[in-house]
């Protein structure tokens, strides 16, 4: 029999998280700090709206780009929260989660040989999606001393004549890093100078904690809207991961091509999720603010706890992750995570799951109740004390 598989696909590595997941799943009564999704249930009024849409029998396809009401609400929301102006009719596309938007944006924009700049550590799907779109990923290794923000210099150093697209994954998973207005302005200048485009993944845009400052979208800077695809969705902001609903906004010329792929591959995003999302945007702002406030309290709590136990970590201002440095213990991230799991049954994700330059760090999620965090942190502390006393053998 012939090889049934595509060589391209076979060459793509499965996610590093998957591998660790398998180890964790075998461990009974492990406490996890490894989850990348909110612990909150979707606010009831949104779920209720989803149920109502089913009761009403709204079980048909919507138009390919999404329900008109939803697109209108998305445009209003982006205007209200992030000063972004999009025409709901031609510049908004409702997708199956932010993930689909990432995939089809790359496929719509890349030709073989086009280089895509991907800052890492970052979410696991940019690189494979780029490869699937026949692009060439070029990794920018972000630095802890810059709090994992992308600098103008790092960007310039990575640009070649083939560079076409920059992925901008902020607020960042796994580091919790944010890009503030001045950081973005520096990057935007380089982008414009080299005639690049930006894929700005702002799925955590509602979850930033800089006192008195909102998340800034690069598309809101002068001259950037026409160069940027903004990706956002309901998973993190409204605790709606399982509803699989996101969206992409950007220039009509690009969205038209994305819509083509979406239309042939997906048809449309789930209808009842779309109805629920209309309600999320009309009546959900206070829920989002409540959840943000709770995440922020946990974030402060974690940072304080790390300080107490002498675990070095820069203060992250976004998403729901902290990314402490574990280099001082002389182990790789993977070793650290495996030992922590074996010794204290706490699961964290090794930084290397998000790119090679995540080596020396672990990702800790605070999408957990305070009680849960407390128990887990006590165990982490005990583990670190054992390490410092040399009670744990460093080599496997």
């Amino acid at each position: 029999m012939r090889n049934p598989l595509s060589k391209e696909i076979v060459n793509i590595q499965p996610s590093g998280i998957r591998k660790f997941f398998d180890i964790v799943s075998e461990m009974k009564d492990a406490i996890s700090l490894g989850v990348g999704e909110p612990d909150f249930d979707t606010p009831w009024h949104i779920r209720d709206e989803g149920i109502y849409s089913l009761e009403k029998g709204r079980t048909f396809y919507t138009s390919n780009a999404g329900l008109k009401e939803l697109k209108i609400e998305i445009a209003k929301y982006l205007q209200r929260r992030f000063e972004l102006e999009y025409d709901y009719n031609s510049e908004v596309l409702v997708t199956v989660g932010g993930s689909e938007a990432i995939d089809i944006a790359m496929r719509a924009m890349l030709d073989p040989g086009d280089e895509v700049l991907i800052p890492q550590p970052s979410y696991v799907s940019y690189e494979p999606c780029c490869r699937l779109a026949n692009g060439t990923p070029v990794i920018i290794q972000l630095q802890a001393e810059n709090e994992f923000r992308l600098t103008k210099e790092e960007l310039e150093a990575a640009i070649t004549p083939k560079t076409k697209l920059l992925v901008l994954p902020y607020p960042n998973n796994p580091t919790g890093a944010v890009m503030e207005r001045h950081d973005l302005e520096a990057v935007a200048a380089v982008v414009a100078e080299h005639d690049l485009f930006v894929l700005s993944d702002e799925i955590y845009g509602e979850l930033t904690y800089v006192e008195g400052k909102n998340h800034v979208s690069i598309a809101s800077l002068p001259g950037m809207k026409e160069r940027t695809i903004v990706i956002n969705g309901f998973s993190k902001s409204h605790a709606m991961t399982g509803w699989r609903l996101g969206y992409a906004c950007g220039p009509k010329v690009i969205l038209e091509q994305m819509l083509k792929i979406h239309q042939y591959a997906i048809m449309c995003a789930p209808t009842n999720s779309q109805y629920a999302a209309v309600d999320a945007l009309r009546n959900g702002d206070s829920d989002v603010a409540d959840m943000r406030e709770q995440y922020n309290g946990r974030r402060r709590y974690l940072m304080h706890a790390f300080e107490q136990m002498g675990l070095s970590c820069f203060e992250p201002f976004g998403a729901f992750y902290v990314f402490p440095c574990i280099r001082e213990f002389g182990m790789t991230s993977e070793e650290f995570a495996e030992k922590l799991l074996a010794e204290e049954k706490v699961a964290v994700v090794p930084g290397t799951a998000f790119g090679e330059c995540g080596e020396g760090f672990i990702r800790i999620s605070y999408a957990y109740s305070l009680d849960n965090l407390k128990t887990a942190l006590e165990r982490v502390q005990r583990f670190i004390e054992k390490l410092k006393k040399g009670e744990i053998n460093k080599t496997k």
Binding site: S15, I17, F20, F21, V24, S25, A30, S32, G34, V35, G36, E37, D39, Y123, V124, S125, N173, E293, N296, G297, R298, R300, Y301, H304, A347, V349, A353, L370, N372
Partner: protein
């Protein structure tokens, strides 16, 4: 800041001062002062525990009694409310808009004890016109907390 503190401790009154200060993001002394002030001003009126007595084997009956009363000159409903809330058996008294005036929550060991209180004490008050006793059969949610068993975390242990 007061609102932040109150919102947090409304559901977590057992948290210690140090942790509360860290979570709110202000120093411990300030939080302690604010708490003290709010206790003095009776903004914080108490710290209670929400108990599902049904799980304990201790017999308890709760009733919500709708009371219609004649308001008194110059005192409105306050005087009669006071006469009622001074009974230790009475858990809560609210002035209500609508078809009746006072909603009285009462706790007793047995059905009989509660009904006895209503017939002997409550109904005999001069200004009480009528009462309607509703016994609570099951508590689903109280003080914003769902009484049923805490839901399990059904998320996968590790996700990207």
């Amino acid at each position: 800041m007061r609102e932040k503190i109150l919102t947090f401790i409304e559901k977590n009154s057992r948290i210690n001062l140090k942790e509360l200060a860290v979570i709110i993001g202000v120093d411990e002394v300030t939080v302690a002062q604010e708490l003290k002030k709010m206790e003095e001003e009776h903004i914080i009126c108490g710290y209670h525990t929400l108990i599902d007595w049904d799980k304990t084997g201790v017999e308890k009956v709760t009733a919500m009694i709708e009371v219609r009363v004649t308001p008194q000159r110059d005192m409105g409903f306050d005087k009669v409310a006071e006469r009622i809330y001074n009974y230790p058996e009475v858990n809560a008294v609210f002035l209500i808009s609508g078809g009746f005036d006072l909603l009285v929550t009462l706790e007793g060991k047995t059905l009989r004890e509660v009904s006895q209180f209503v017939t002997d004490k409550l109904s005999t008050l001069d200004s009480v016109l009528s009462t309607k006793t509703n016994f609570i059969l099951k508590k689903y949610k109280d003080h914003g907390t769902i009484i049923a068993d805490a839901p399990k975390d059904e998320r996968m242990l590790i996700t990207p």
